[in-house]
Amino acid sequence: MSVAVPAIPATATRGNLRLWLQIAFWAAIATVLLVLTGVQFGPAATISILAVTITKATPITLGALSGICSERSGVVNIGIEGLMLTSAFMGFMVGVYTHNLAIALVAAMVSSALLALLHAVLSITFRVDQIISGTVVNILAVGLTGYLNRQLFATGAPPGLSVLPRVDVAGLSAVPWLGEILFQQKPIALTAIVLVFVLHFCLFRTRWGLRTRAVGEHPLAADTVGVNVNRLRYVNVVLGGVIAGLGGAYFTLESVPHFEPLMTNGRGFIALAAMIFGKWTPFGAWGAALLFGVAEAIPTAMQLQGINVPFQIVGLLPYILTIVVVAGAVGRATPPAADGIPYVRA
């Protein structure tokens, strides 16, 4: 399978004007909607929608960052849904037995990293098709969490469990509007935002980032100058697993103190769409994740305002939005050139 390497890989350029135009376009629409909401229901409604948006965007942001980490080095990971589901359960389980949220958080990330390692072994070492390997991860996660949940917690979650507390960033949370939206979030939501900046810096300003992008675009060239292609891919897939694990922990350690089968409900797949929409860049993916966050926050807000629409209908919004996004109604996305192709040293 020979794949032509584009002269200027689109994903390698940072000043992507079209991407920013699209983000501006969607931001404008969102602003208009939010101003209208504010006029109709008062500014408190707008603030609450924006705060909920950031909360709801958290697992999607983290999932997308996990995907970027892995795919920038050339490994497609559609198992992020499974990674998040597994870490959601493992975080919950360890939390029940230890009553220590910090240990539970670590357990969530470790379990997700281990499952990501399985994906790495299958797809990098055994060169299993990466989509199939990712599907294996997803099925395994459904089976593992479903089985353990019923075997260990057949009578439901034990009472008295807590979730991570809200962190009021000193002084900032009292700032009207911005403080109320941004700085009254919980730790994982805040970490996700910080990680967007960190990953952007690491990808485009560090040696690791340069090597990652090189391996994802043209592994042979990277290999020629002495980068260990498959080792770097292992590192990135497992690192992506850790980030996805944080995203999974959001569900059971930050959002609600219990586990339900299949509770990630497609957030891992939506995260992939956010990654594609964001053109494999951390900021682009974050913008897309916020868009999905709005799509989830609006139904919640509508219910709070007493607007009666069947929940199954408004609940469709994020999924349909995902289809519209990946269908490229808002522009074509070019993945890293070597994305999905195992590297075999000639």
Binding site: M1, I132, V136, G146, R150, A154, T322, I323, A327
Partner: protein, 366 residues
Amino acid sequence: MRFLYSVGVPLLAVLTALVLGAVVIFATGGDALRAYQGLWEGSLGRPQSISETLVWSIPYVFGGLAVALAFKAGLFNIGVEGQIGLGSLASVYVGYAVKDVPFPFHLFLALAAGVAAGALWGAIPGVLKAKTGAHEVIVTIMLNYVAIQMTSFLVSGPMKDPNPLIANAQTPKILQSARLPPLLPDPQYRLHWGIVIAVLAAVFVWWLLNKSTLGFEIRTVGANPQAARYAGVAVGRTIVVTMALSGALAGMAGALEVVGLNFYHTAGFSVGYGFDSIAVALLGRGDPIGVLPSAVLFGGLAAGASRMQFLSQIPIDIIKLIQALVLIFIAAPALIRWLYRVRVPREAESVAGEVQLTASWGKVEA
């Protein structure tokens, strides 16, 4: 020798998965021996169990065929779940709402409605892929959620059984004239004619892929879309047709569950068929005939699961775990080779044929 490998590797994969499953059961404080005794009794141990195994395997045959057919064109249909669900929904609607149509014709109408709904739901990701390059993996998964939510809305609202005695969110039962007759006269066997239709479908898909012009085009597109275009194959059209056919097969599975087995539809009834169908197709090595035995295996696991839970109190979810393990060993035959020190020939390595599913992530094919 090649035949030996194509049978031996899947068998070793299943065996290894069962052993690992037993380890998990043991580790979580269960009785693995009793669990597997239940699994055996519920799947093959009694004549009625065999009937149940075959009943369960019918949707797996169609789901597996749907995934296998798409594989051949280099497409990954993860949307079988939604296609089966909408197939059921369309067929149940025709089954109860259309009246005064005599027996075989009403049945045909109900089946046709299910097939058409599945084909339509499958064609959407095909069209989007051909026109915009949207990767079918994301689109089909999203359409699953859309189908599940739509079904939940319809069966609890507009299509809910008006009978006040029925509190569940389920549709009315279909009319007698739309029902598929049972295969055996004794009512304790639920096996219906769907199993015969399933075998015929497998033969048809085999013929389609290997003996027809369309099949040649599908395989060419799957092997190399650029070369196919150069050779004059309408790549975009082939993608749409393949996805529609794949969806139609899944829709048939949903329709048969309604007209042959349940006679009504309820929310969340087909949960899990989508991913299982992928496993069935891979276990059958992407071959239409190979799908038949692997569907029976999955049908057996599903049928035996409830007996297993009854005997050993092991949650049926362990079956999912075993299925995932089977899939790992099937997807990476090198693992089996390494575990058992057997030599696997190179042509037996690739699961979905020479098709690379991931290389076209987000790119325009047509």
